[in-house]
Amino acid sequence: MSEYGRPGLRALAKPERDEVVEPGEAALEVTVRNDAGEPVRFNRHQASHPALVLQVRDERDRPVLLAPPSAPGAEDLVVEELGPGQSVLLRYAGFLDRSLDTGTYRVRYFSPYPHLGGTEEAPLSTDWVPISVHSTQAFRPGVELPQWPPPFPRPPTWSVPLRLSGKLVDVLARRLGFLACQGVLEQEIDEQRTETISNAPPGSEAWNGTYGWRARFLVRVEEASCRVSVTIRIRLVGTITSGQRSAWESAIRDAWSGLFKVCANRQPCCVNGFPIHVAVQFVTSGEHQVVNVGTSTTNMGNWGATDTVDVSHEAGHMLGALDEYFTVNGVDYGLGRQADGAIMNNPANPPAARHYDLILQAVRGLTGGAGCTQPVSAMCG
C-alpha cells in the first residue's frame, strides 16, 4: 500500500525485473497517480532524476548513496499538470553503482517537495521494494583485454585498473581514459584514529587523556584535471546562517587546498603531480561527520558559528591528523598555539605535509603506486 503525498497524489513502485540482476542493470518503475478531483502540478523531469527522489538502503539499513543528478537545465523548470485520474510512469535504470556488493537492497520513491509530489508534513513515498543484485567484475585484474593491443608502448602499471580497492567509474572507459588521461578513481575513507595527550602543564591537566575519532572523507583522483579532491560531508545540527556556513567552507578550503600535491610515481598523465583540494559539503544525510553548531569550537563535533580559525584545525582531525601540542603519542610538541606551529598546533597557521598522510595513503591505495606529498611549488621526481 503506498502513501499519499500532496492531497490526492499516490505513488507505487515496483522493480522492473524480479530476478537477481547486476547492479548496473537494476531498474525500477514508479507510477504517480492523481486520485484527487482536481489537477495537481508535478515536475516530471525533475522526478526522473533518481538521485532526487530515490532512497536506497542496504541490508543493514545503511543509506546507499546515489550518483549526483545531472546539472539542472531549463527542462527542470517545466511543471506539468496531472489531471484527475491521470498518472505518470517514471522509469529509473542504472541508478545502482556497479561496484555495489552482492545482496538485497531496498529502494523507494520519497520526496517532501511539492513539485515532486510531497510536502514536509506528508512526503510522497512508495513502499520499500527489494532489489537483489549480484555483483560481478567484468575484467580480472591483470588480464589483457582481447583484441586490444595498444598502438604504443604498454602503459605503466599506474594506469591499469589493477589492485584497486576503490570504486572504478568504468573499466573500459578507464582504459580509454588512460589513453586520453581521463581516468577517475575514488574511494570512501573511514579510519579509526586515537591519540594520547600527556605532559600537559599544571593548569592544563584536563587535556591529559586518550581521545578517539573516525577520520572520514571521500578522496577522488582525477587525471583530466591532475587533481586530488577530498570531500568531507557534514550534517549540521543547530542554527547557522548561510553566511556563516559559507565562511566555514571557505576557511577550510583555503586552509587545506592548493598547498601540497601527491607526486605519483610512473604516472604519465600528471607528471607534475596531483594538487590536493579539500572541501566540506553540507548534507542532510549520508554524512561523514555530524557537527553541532554552538558559540565556540570545542571539538570536532562542536563548532562555533562565527569561528573561522579553529574549524580548520578540526577539519584536520576529520582528515586523520593528530594534535601537535603538549605530548601526543609520546612526541613532545610543546605548548599549543605556538607562533610557528603548523595547523595541528596553531589553527591559524597552514598545515604541513604530514597532515595529509591519510590522504596520501588513500591515493596510493587507489593508484597502486608509491607516491609522496610535496609542496605544490616543488617538482615531482
Binding site: T194, A206, Y211, R214, T298
Partner: protein
C-alpha cells in the same frame, strides 16, 4: 543529545573558576560504556586561547551545556556520563578554585 551540568559554590566565600577545563565535552565529560570501558571522545580544543573565568558568590551556581557530546559513531548501548573538572595551576591566585571535582554518574542509552 545534550548533557547539562551545574556547579554550585556551597562555601562561604567567593571562588573564581577557570573555565578552560570545561571548554567542551572532550575535556569536561567522562563516559563509560556498559562494561566500564571509557568511550573515547574526539580531541579537545587547542589550548592556549584567551582564558575565561567565572566568579561564584556563596550559594551561586553556574550551568554548563554540552550539546552533541556523543560521537556519531558510538555503538548502540547503555552508557553513563559524569562531569569532571580538573584544574591545578602552579601558582593559583587567591580565590581561585583548584583541585578536581566529579559529579554523580548519569545514565543514557544510544539506539540506532
Amino acid at each position: 543529545m545534550v548533557a547539562e551540568a551545574t556547579l554550585w559554590n556551597d562555601d562561604a566565600v567567593e571562588v573564581r573558576m577557570n573555565l578552560a577545563p570545561l571548554a567542551g565535552p572532550s575535556l569536561a565529560l567522562q563516559i563509560l560504556d556498559a562494561h566500564g570501558s571509557p568511550l573515547l571522545l574526539p580531541p579537545p580544543p587547542v589550548p592556549g586561547g584567551e582564558p575565561s573565568w567565572a566568579t561564584l558568590s556563596p550559594g551561586q551556581s553556574e550551568g554548563f551545556r554540552f550539546t552533541g557530546f556523543v560521537p556519531s559513531w558510538t555503538a548502540p548501548g547503555r552508557y553513563r556520563v559524569r562531569l569532571r573538572y580538573l584544574y591545578r595551576p602552579p601558582s593559583p591566585q587567591p580565590g581561585d578554585w583548584t583541585g578536581e571535582l566529579v559529579s554523580e554518574w548519569a545514565e543514557f542509552a544510544v539506539r540506532t
